[in-house]
Subunit: 625 residues, 2 copies
Amino acid sequence: MAPPSEGGADALLPDLPKGPLQAYRSRASFCWKELALFLEGEDVLRLKKTIFSTLENDPLFAHSHGEELCLEKCRELSFLRCQRLLELSFLSMEDMVASPLLVQTLIACLGMYDWSLGLKFLLHMLTFGSAIYSSGSERHLKYLPKIFNMEIFGCFAVTELSHGSNAKAVRTTAHYDPTTEEFIIHTPDFEAAKFWVGNMGKTATHAVVFAQLYTPGGQCHGLHSFVVQIRDPKTLLPMPGVMVGDMGKKLGLNGVDNGFAMFHKVRIPRQDLLNRTGDVTPEGTYVTPFKDDKQRFGASLGTLSFGRVTIVGMSIVNLKLAVSIALRFSATRCQFGPTDGEEVPVLEYQMQQWRLLPYLAAIYALDHFSKSLFLDVAELQQGLAGADHGARQAELGREIHALASAGKPLASWTAQRGIQECREACGGHGYLAVNRLGDLRNDNDPNCTYEGDNNVLLQQTSSYLLSLLARHIQGGARVESPLRTVDFLEAYPDILGRRFTCPSVDSCLDSAVPLAAYEWLVCYLLRESHQKLTQEKRSGSNDFEARNNSQVYYCRPLALAFLELTVVRRFHEYTHQPHVPPGLRAVLGRLSALYALWSLSQHTALLYQAERRCSCPGGRDRPSR
Amino acid sequence: MAPPSEGGADALLPDLPKGPLQAYRSRASFCWKELALFLEGEDVLRLKKTIFSTLENDPLFAHSHGEELCLEKCRELSFLRCQRLLELSFLSMEDMVASPLLVQTLIACLGMYDWSLGLKFLLHMLTFGSAIYSSGSERHLKYLPKIFNMEIFGCFAVTELSHGSNAKAVRTTAHYDPTTEEFIIHTPDFEAAKFWVGNMGKTATHAVVFAQLYTPGGQCHGLHSFVVQIRDPKTLLPMPGVMVGDMGKKLGLNGVDNGFAMFHKVRIPRQDLLNRTGDVTPEGTYVTPFKDDKQRFGASLGTLSFGRVTIVGMSIVNLKLAVSIALRFSATRCQFGPTDGEEVPVLEYQMQQWRLLPYLAAIYALDHFSKSLFLDVAELQQGLAGADHGARQAELGREIHALASAGKPLASWTAQRGIQECREACGGHGYLAVNRLGDLRNDNDPNCTYEGDNNVLLQQTSSYLLSLLARHIQGGARVESPLRTVDFLEAYPDILGRRFTCPSVDSCLDSAVPLAAYEWLVCYLLRESHQKLTQEKRSGSNDFEARNNSQVYYCRPLALAFLELTVVRRFHEYTHQPHVPPGLRAVLGRLSALYALWSLSQHTALLYQAERRCSCPGGRDRPSR
């Protein structure tokens, strides 16, 4: 095993303490420091070390394991810690812009400590703050220093009691009054109350509120966002006309004060419309650089993607923690053995390995995907900030939106199932609160829901793929995208003609094999989904019905398989590139193969069915074009 | 639709309040009161009504939704409620013996209210109490009235810190001292501390303690159980030599005080050995009616089965509650629609139906299985109480043990997955604590672990089936069992020769079709498992290795498929019997088909693989005998 090739590794990565895990650790086929350096790089490792040692040495961040905190206290502590974080200022605004991966690292470290803190910080700085920065204009820059020094504390209010997934249908209104040059923010009834808004329950002073914008004369211009002050920053008492409160206990994340708000004709200055995609003149005329509502909506996809990509990373953090706990337990817990007197670590059992090791591999593959997609989003946002409205930028936005909309479901579900498996794999000890698997499960759970229900989000991805195919079939357009994730689909008739042959089991232990199978599977599902939709419409379904009736067995597996393929492909390429250190090639290759094969094996039934359809006489073995 | 055929239905089942669910309810194809009467019977419905109205009218049982209770308070409340339950005495000892289903109903009702209460009651009355009643003898009857009036409060201590699944390896000792006619109960070290014992943390005064029995001279006679006083009933202070405490916060069930205990040479009278399966004379000679340790252990399987069967019922209660919440929400929550202005209930979406309705069907099928198996266990226990040591009784014990050991995994996993699906299907609202899905998930979770980890338990079932096959192959013994769950295996060569043909999709909407497929599947998995084990041993594995290496892909699916088959068969027969009221036949038939097809569809990949193995040239299409 080669020693770490870069200097400073030992300072950044001190040796692990000797203990009961030593026996397993000494059997590793690779140098863990070399792996950490290769995967993370020195800058990230240094930031991690800084954050963790700072938190460890500050009594405000002392964990109170075993001690019971009431809801009120949980929320207060998170708020105080968030305040301290902003004082500590691990990353400057310049660092954040220069190195998106450091932003992701900061979020991950805070989440490893406690997601309630991580989320409060994220919601204030990167959701509220970014919304103002990226949806507003020069006139809103005045808010930024106040965000950084926590003079104001923010939240982001889209969801209403009766509208979550269907965000476009929210019913809060913003009527423009030219006589005073103000917008009147109003909640028509309780079902239109803003709901679930993180930080709104107790602590936020300002909210970015999404409302339907009306100009004088009554024309509605669709959803826009507004900065609305909801509390007095000194007293935290609600502003006049604002009824705001806390939603109470949740299944997890109880350090975050999710809240609701109703607005009774609250007047705000015209300038507090975030006007990047549309503005109202003092006289009350609506102006927008976009041709139609749809295009305007398209331009805001980047912001949605950021949220979803962030959740991919959050989910992986949770899975990392859970799998570490379960594997360490399994390596030291002994139970049963070949003879009555002798017991073996449960990690030695095929069953325990089968339960846990695929999730270990999933962590590495999804973590790499998460980082690479985070960089893609950063590129997209820099283009948007530079006001790039070119065709490539629009295509990139659509592609990233498709990847993020299936990436969030895949990562959050993998983590949720993995954490449950870890909980069970630790037996009774996994059920003790102090061992943290419950918090991880409870804190990961909303990742399946927020920024869009997983099953609903998957439709965005399948629609993207189906629209590419339709353009190809109807107009002969090439199937291609800026990040090249869909380019293989251009050759779908050839790919569907491929047949899998397995010379030996050993030959399958390379992720290239499942990768090829995934390409076939995605082509097959895309063709089947297209045919199903066409057939539904032919038999009289309208668009809405046709789409709904094609989800379960067609579009849903299509979206998931496409995303899995993308994860597998990116990790395969990453682990097989020439500059992988020789001492790490074997272990990274095994992780890549294990994730790809395990993931593909969940589609075994579909592969058998597909093979039968494609090969039996009268079956559909020709492309449908 | 016929009105309820029995009188009194309206008094027992008052009409449901009119509300937003009315629209769906009025579209039911059957009379719900008729269904309730058919499934439950008047006695059960009456007991339910009594229990619920009593709890509703007693302030001690008022739920404190939204209010936060600290751990201490949760535990105190559960204890006080348990005390009140014993005063209320919904069922007398005679009722319990006469009608086991009423016992199951009582447990279910308490669980619907709150599993912490249900479990405290169950652990005291039916685990501690039953252990004394069924493992003890006349000299222990003195404890029973004290249990009924809660003069003493009990717990059941098997598990130790380092031994859970491998219960036979627990290390607490009980040395007999003939000079004082006492046993000396002792914990050799911290790893042998009793652990996880429900009721032990704060409230139990007495424990049934499992320990290795040693007679003078040092001979060990294996695990036996002893009644040990651990606290003073007046002060609740620990008895001399007993170190006992609470384990702290768990992921759920925080009204139950799980505890640990270490015994430092605690002396108890000789008579407090529970001596049904083995006793020690005053002079120190060990006597037992059983020939060997194995036979003695076999006789105690009935008690283990009772625990597991109870958990089947507990899991179904949790799934019932979760699915009711999610379906009611789905019927009233509207989101999206064919046009912008019109939204439809999410229950109308194919996706939502696909997510939830199979779990609705699973409730009915598993609930029937749970009741029927509870009656089987009651029959077994009555036989044991009557000291029936006949061959049929032993066979019945083995069969029920096999059913309970896979029934608990199937039911607890189905519930755990179903509750998570319900949580997600309710979106953000499912994440609010007040909506209870979190408590249900957290309280159901340990069902996957206690009374044996699910994956470990499944081995009991596969071992049972494999031993029947081995006896058949080696000695030509008939494959049969008292409850006839395995009798079809006698014809396994014929069954494996069957091929599935599907004349039409409609023809598959009868549970007879998946039932036949399940028989084929179980025969196939049994043969494959047998061959795998044989091959492992041939290639030099010892028993331990051979078994371990055959779990994941052979024995585990065998045990699950066998149990699913049994559930499907029992529900199919129940729903197709002649006395099913005509108005219920259609809906029960659909539930039976849906559960069977959904359940079978999880094995689709296996069915394809099996078909290929059985039909390709050179494949194994002949029975292996």
